[in-house]
Amino acid sequence: MATQPSSDLTRRTAAQLSEALRAGEVTSVEVTQAHLDRIAAVDGAVHAFLHVSAEEALATAREVDARRAAGEELHPLAGVPIAVKDVVVTKGLPTTAGSKILEGWVPPYDATLVERLRAAGLPILGKTNMDEFAMGSSTEHSAYGTTHNPWDLDRIPGGSGGGSAAALAAYEAPLAIGTDTGGSIRQPGAVTGTVGVKPTYGGVSRYGLIALASSLDQAGPVTRTVLDSALLHEVIGGHDPRDATSLPEDLPGLVAAARAGQGGDLTGVRVGVVDELNGEGYQPGVRARFEESLELLRRAGAEVVHVSCPHFGHALAAYYLILPSEASSNLAKFDGMRFGLRVEPTEGTVTAERVMAATRGQGFGDEVKRRIILGTYALSAGYYDAYYGSAQKVRTLIQQDFAAAFEQADVLVSPTAPTTAFRLGEKLDDPLAMYLNDVATIPANLAGVPGMSVPNGLSEDGLPVGFQILAPARADDRLYRVGAALETLLEREWGGPLLNRAPELATEGTTR
């Protein structure tokens, strides 16, 4: 463990920082500065951030400290800094979604979840790296360079939200926001040894998230502990009239569920193992850790049953039709007319049509073009029924599978990702192999149900593995209860958090 006080602060959980701040033991400026220092020291190697907003973060921290000093009643997380995935629009802070086409764009408005972070007094440290427009599972598709996994800098941090997960794993931030369209919160969580939660669809407002696939996207917490996720989830969740798909009701009791789970007792909880999300294609170490975690849950009193979700085998295919289709339409607005990059054709007449095509041709990366063309194909006349229409039907079948499974179990579980972090560049030229990373996380997005990834050990290669918990729509609290219980039981065995076993990162520059 590091000994410097600023370094100590970066090792604390958000819940611990919250308590220290409330007790007057530290100030938000100290906490925020400690994280900015850490970013300065390690982000050259990790590259979790696309933009660091030191000034703004410290200004917020000072304001929170002043209000606390004045005796104001503050939100429990007030003063705890946070990193925000660059797909979330932030007024006054550059927002690129990892794309060249948005280079230099400064949004004139805040996403609803950002408004809520600001209202609660969380200093925003900066914007985190991601696959361009959240298309990818490795963050290698960022137009601004890849993010490196703090466990092994030659490996991917997962994606699309590799920046947020890596920021947590590298102690650059105690909290981060991610978005999950097919696993982009959970899979990076799994491969970096951090916690990530995809809430029930509609549980967190999508207003201000640069849309990838509207019917699948959901923002959620990226943290190092289950309790921290619950605390953050309660800040950003709840109904938003600006998002028509936002749930009308709040989903309370998340923090309470996490605290209850920390007791480690799961008596009476029925845990369903999804047989289709295990076995062939899953790394042996991943399967071994999964079995051990099941045994822990059993010992904690849970009843472990096996359930079958026969249509999950078609989830990946349905997903790779629905996502590109919706994305092809959502990304149409990036045309060089109203904001962002504008490229004029080098020869011939300069017409709006040609400028749009030139801008999109140069502004979008390979994976984005690939998916837009695929989506355009799936929606085009004559193919709609076979592709997009069929995929929407598969979605119904997957929902039915979930409904049947949740008759038998309170939560469903599986490994989060089939493998640990692979080497940078390893799957870059094989889109299908890349897509397989999300095979276990995608069904939840198709059905709109919530999911969590909790670190549950290291594989035979010494890299972290994640345990996925899924709950019925609106029953996000179950994730927190079971997730916190598993975390507690595992940490008892390990004698501390899994991240303690991550190698120390070399630091550069000076810290205060």
């Binding site: 979330v88 629009v89 927002t95 979604a97 948005l102 764009w105 949004p107 004139p108 408005y109 996403a111 999508r206 207003y207 201000g208 998230l209 640069i210 849309a211 696939a213 509207s214 019917s215 009239p241 600006r242 998002d243 028509a244 798909t245 289709s325 919706e326 092809s328 339409s329 149409a332 607005k333 990036f334 045309d335 007319m337 109203r338 904001f339 004029e344 007449t349 300069v350 709006a352 049509e353 749009m356 355009t376 929606l379 085009s380 006349a381 709609y384 997009y388």
Partner: protein, 503 residues
């Protein structure tokens, strides 16, 4: 592709050999306070881009939130057009790239319109009633406005460019699509015009839109095709876009019939295409060819949830529907006893409500019509304003007519009273008092004036005595002049004749 344009065929000639089929798509901008999917104001005439939010600008991250009032208005329109109201319907995205479409897709309804399978009776000028079947009425959003800037001053590579204002982007629209209108023969242009006019009246009666044609609140696309006989299958149609006045609707249909007849006579086929209407020259020109390239890739809008109007809500709305214009017009015509031509003039002048209120204020229907279609219509024309915009209320006209009916003012004085009211001098009663305009019917005052006039014109008196009543007018004129018009002309005539006989 042909290079020469075949000559137009004379309309009567064309119609004698071809059977026209028309179809009309009307877009109406709803008069809601805010846009379809965001809270930006819809007030007309604001400075460019001052009525936009991240949503109407299509900024990254923005999401639509559906205006409930717009849905209610769409249901009202559907019910007024005798449509079924969908139990559940969704929005869809119509994907196409165009700079005035901020998201590069229009949020519209596609295969699930909120209203469908309706009809509306329209009345032609001669009173013939034609039933137009409505295929659907659906909700969608308007686009922004491009202003073309020409010439070498353009900043973009020295070329021409456009300036875009997104104030209009996202204004709620309802698009109403007819089924093919067949069997109307040579009256097709008139039917098209009367249909759009009827819709305009309905929008106003429902209070869902100001429906001002000159502001583009109501825009029509007219489809026209010709076939050899009513039994033949439908011919290839053209769609003439954005025809924005009643007269133009009629002219555009007429022109397309003549043009297509020319194409067919030349042995060619009509191209399925959109066409542009040129108000100044009265012709249409070719626009986009409908081709395979036009692939809108519609799919259900994932950002909006389905609209499922409960039957209770629909019935509640139905109960609030006002009487429809054609029915109301017929009822009022009967009640007022107007001739068809009179009623038509009243309708065309937009004077129904004014006359109705004037009658309610105590004027006889004939008198009310005389005021609004006579003196007031002339004034409005001179001033270049709408009748309703004149600074006089139907109540005031009612009061004025009551003064006439009571004999307190004659016609000439009444016009002076009206001038006073229009000049802002107050109510008719106030103007009469202030200007001293009451009719002088007291014989004493009149006798003196008559005697004076007779004395001044002895030759005229001789003529009258000789049995020639013609010159009586000259005496009356003199008396009226002397009394500044306030004499009761009838009474003056009686007194003149009495005095001449006596003398």
């Amino acid at each position: 592709m042909s290079t020469t344009t075949p000559p137009l065929v004379d309309y009567d000639e064309a119609i004698s050999r071809f059977d026209p089929v028309i179809g009309i798509e009307v877009h109406v901008e709803l008069g809601t306070a805010t846009k379809m999917f965001d809270g930006a104001s819809t007030e007309f005439g604001a400075e460019p881009n001052t009525q936009v939010t991240p949503v109407s600008l299509g900024l990254p991250g923005a999401l639509p939130a559906l205006n409930g009032k717009a849905v209610e208005s769409a249901i009202k329109i559907g019910l007024a057009l005798n449509c079924e109201i969908a139990e559940l319907c969704r929005f869809a995205r119509k994907n196409y790239f165009y700079p005035d479409v901020p998201k590069n897709f229009q949020t519209s309804q596609y295969d699930e319109p909120i209203a469908f399978d309706g009809w509306i009776d329209i009345e032609l000028d001669d009173g013939e009633v034609v039933r137009v079947e409505i295929e659907r009425a659906h909700m969608e959003e308007d686009a922004g406005k491009n202003t073309h800037v020409g010439g070498a001053t353009g900043r973009i590579h020295g070329a021409e460019y456009s300036l875009v204002d997104y104030n209009r982007a996202g204004i709620p629209l309802v698009e109403i699509v007819t089924r093919p209108i067949t069997g109307v023969g040579d009256r097709a242009p008139e039917v098209a015009r009367a249909y759009v006019q009827t819709l305009r009246d309905i929008f106003r009666a429902l209070d869902v839109s100001e429906a001002r044609m000159e502001r583009g609140n109501v825009r029509a696309d007219v489809n026209v095709s010709l076939r050899a006989t009513p039994e033949a299958p439908l011919g290839t149609r053209t769609e003439t876009k954005n025809v924005n006045s009643f007269r133009s609707v009629e002219r555009a249909v007429r022109h397309e019939i003549s043009r297509q007849a020319g194409v067919l006579d030349a042995g060619r086929t009509v191209t399925q295409e959109t066409r542009h209407w040129h108000e100044d020259t009265g012709v249409t020109t070719a626009g986009r060819v409908k081709s395979d390239a036009e692939d809108y890739r519609y799919f259900p809008e994932p950002d909006l949830v389905p609209v499922a109007p409960s039957r209770e809500w629909v019935e509640e709305i139905r109960a609030t529907l006002p009487e429809m214009p054609v029915a109301r017009r017929r009822r009022l015509q009967t009640e007022w006893g107007y001739a068809d031509a009179e009623m038509r003039d009243v309708v065309n002048a937009g004077a129904i409500e004014l006359i109705e209120a004037t009658v309610a204020a105590g004027a006889a229907p004939a008198a009310a019509r005389k005021w609004w279609m006579g003196e007031l219509a002339r004034t409005a024309k001179t001033e270049g304003v709408e009748l309703a915009d004149l600074p006089v209320t139907p109540e005031q006209i009612g009061q004025l007519q009551q003064l006439v009916d009571a004999g307190r003012v004659n016609d000439k004085l009444a016009r002076q009273v009206l001038a006073g009211v229009l000049a802002g001098e107050g109510s008719p009663e106030e103007v009469v008092t202030a200007r001293g305009l009451e009719v002088v019917s007291d014989d004493g005052a009149l006798l003196a004036a008559v005697d004076e006039a007779l004395a001044a014109q002895p030759d005229v008196v001789e003529k009258i005595r000789g049995g020639n009543q013609g010159p009586v007018g000259a005496i009356i004129g003199a008396v009226m002049k002397a009394t500044r018009g306030q004499a009761d002309a009838g009474r003056v005539r009686e007194i003149v004749l009495e005095r001449v006989q006596q003398g």
